[in-house]
Amino acid sequence: MWGEVPQLLVNGLVAGTVLAVPAIGFTAIYAVLRFPNFTVASHATIGAFAGYVVNVALGWPAWAAVAVAFLVAGAAGVVNDHLILRPLRPAGALTTAIGAVALTIVLENVVRFVFGNELRGYDLPLRRDWRWGDVRIGPQQVENLVIAVVAMAAVFLFLAFTRTGKAMRAVADDPTLASLKGIDADRVARLTNFGGMGLAGIGGMLLGLDTSIDPLTGFRVILSVFAAAVVGGLGSIPGAVVGALTIGIAEELSLLSLAPAYRTAVGFVAILLVLTLRPRGLLGERAY
């Protein structure tokens, strides 16, 4: 049994890194807009299908399709927030969160209406896994890891060194002070939505690159994304990364004693433990 651990750790590392991308989007939106935006699920799906369309219909390579996934999901995020979630915000975080759940169901069904329910695969060559002893890893998994790391690095650099990034951190930290300084909260909100949902779109596509996509792609992962954000501390971007790696590795290690079908129980248990024992999460609530 312990001989399985290296393979599980490798799987967990890859899964956790890919999970970190939508988790960062989710937690960033929470930091700035102060509500859990569950439409991350349907935007992951929208991103995955946008990438699918350019990859299969236009023949673009994977990295270009990922960029399209980011842009389309981000744009959709801005539009959806402006039309539907923004009017709900004055009513409070709970109402907006419930509205987000309803919206994600509608968006998922729009995708289903256009593309149907069947599984679709990206147009990529089937390559055999690389093996070292008992451990195997797929070339696509390695690529996903690289894309995820690049996306996260871009986010960190943006937040640390650009004017807009610093403005976002200011609004997340203290909206009143930020508006006193002349920072336009609406503009920051739009940018956060664009970036956050764009990251969700990348996440959705990365999930599907190795396997296949269908309208439920985002929904399947939303619990793990939420768990990752909660474990790391809602609103903390480094926390989202730590949380995602924790959840990813924990889900894989749970296979030592649980059947694969129960894997999502790990997400539930993690949320339960964190909210009971340390509600602030591992890194506390603080945008980077």
Binding site: E118, T217, R220, L255, P260, A261
Partner: protein, 404 residues
């Protein structure tokens, strides 16, 4: 102001309710005694079984057309009401509800996935609607259906028995089962567990997975750890597609076997030949030499019919003949009580409904033998025997191996 004249008096309300109920009962009475015979088809037009649903429905439309052209069942035309079960139990229950409550059909025919049939069966026996299915899970005929259910597909017990015989004949020694969560997953596993050791082979492990996932990495790791020489993919087309690709990526070089409804030509066309090469498939074989099969093949325009369309052709024929035997009473109960009288026994052998109806009108006894097989049923609705055909995928085409 007096509101006496305006409001509905209790007596008037009761009178109105009573006559509405009587009116609602009229269609069912009419259906039972005169007017067109309404029969429902509930096949997977979309979903995992979507490759078969449309042709299953066409096979039933074929029989209905032929019967209506020859004068109908005792003068009454068959009217088919078709719904899509989407290979999904929730959608199927909604569709079945509509068929039984709104259309008030005498029979529902053609449910395909075992999970769908298991969900729809209680609705049928409770509303006394006859259900004919092509699902295979043993658990289905073991339900308390009071006779309102028959199936033309060999049950899991029979199918896995023949599969075990095949695996032993090709000397598979270490068999691992990767099964989707379905009613037949556990019975199949248990039957293999029981039969393989008798031939010197072993079931080295089994995993039941949730078929709605897009990756099965961990399940495959579990399988490969047991070093099998044969993996039985007991799922449906979408999940088997993913499993076969992942087994290829993982470098698995052993043999694979799957059911023919899962690993079919559509699956072979969706992946490079090297991924599917060598996979064995098991398919219940229709009665290819029968006149019924040949006539259906001519209508559907294909030389090689899937077993489900053949079964649906037989199912609607059996229902029509049972109604005729019941002197035109088009209810589920009448079909239940008369179906075995025209399906088996010492009567004149017929292979199509039109001829059967003619002979019944002359007062003769008949024994319907269909395009899918002899159509002889046990008390709980299983068929007695069936031949299973084994093929192998070679260069993205199927080659016949043997018939058991």
């Amino acid at each position: 102001m007096s509101h006496h004249g305006r409001r509905l008096s209790r007596r008037a309300l009761l009178r109105a309710a009573g006559s509405t109920l009587a009116l609602a009962a009229l269609p069912r009475l009419a259906a039972a005694q005169g007017g067109p015979i309404k029969l429902g088809t509930l096949t997977p037009l979309t979903g995992a079984g979507g490759s078969y649903g449309p042709s299953m429905r066409k096979a039933m439309e074929f029989v209905a057309q032929e019967v209506n052209a020859a004068g109908g069942v005792l003068g009454r035309p068959i009217q088919l009401v078709s719904e899509d079960d989407q290979t999904n139990p929730e959608a199927a229950v909604r569709a079945a509800r509509k068929l039984t409550d709104v259309d008030k059909v005498a029979a529902i025919m053609g449910t395909w996935a075992s999970a769908v049939t298991t969900a729809v069966a209680p609705l049928c026996w409770e509303s006394k609607t006859f259900l004919t299915t092509v699902s295979g899970s043993d658990t289905i005929t073991q339900l308390p259906h009071q006779g309102y259910l028959i199936r033309t597909q060999p049950n899991t017990n029979l199918q896995i028995g023949k599969l075990a015989e095949f695996l032993l004949s090709i000397k598979s020694r270490r068999v691992f089962v990767l099964a989707a969560q379905t009613p037949f997953a556990l019975p199949s596993q248990k039957r293999l567990q029981e039969l393989l050791p008798k031939g010197g082979s072993e079931l080295v492990g089994a995993v039941i997975y949730d078929k709605d996932k897009t990756t099965f990495r961990s399940e495959i790791d579990q399988a490969l750890r047991t070093k099998p020489d044969m993996i039985y993919l007991n799922g449906y087309t979408p999940d088997c597609t993913i499993l076969m690709k992942e087994l290829f990526k993982a470098g698995y070089t052993g043999a694979k076997v799957a059911q023919g409804y899962a690993v079919n030509q559509k699956l072979l066309d969706s992946m490079p030949a090297e991924v599917s090469d060598g996979t064995y498939t098991a398919t219940p074989s229709p009665a290819v030499d029968s006149a019924g099969y040949k006539r259906l093949a001519a209508f559907l325009g294909s030389g090689d019919l899937d077993p489900y369309s053949c079964q649906c052709h037989d199912q609607i024929s059996l229902v029509a003949l049972a109604i005729a035997k019941a002197k035109g009473e088009a209810t589920g109960t009448a079909i239940r009580d008369h179906v075995r009288r025209i399906a088996q026994g010492a009567g004149v052998k017929v292979d199509n409904a039109v001829e059967g109806l003619k002979l019944l009108a002359q007062g003769k006894e008949i024994n319907f033998e269909g395009a899918s097989g002899p159509c002889d049923f046990t008390d709980i609705g299983d068929i007695l025997d069936c031949k299973i055909r084994f093929d192998q995928a070679q260069g993205a085409k199927f080659k016949f191996v043997k018939m058991i």
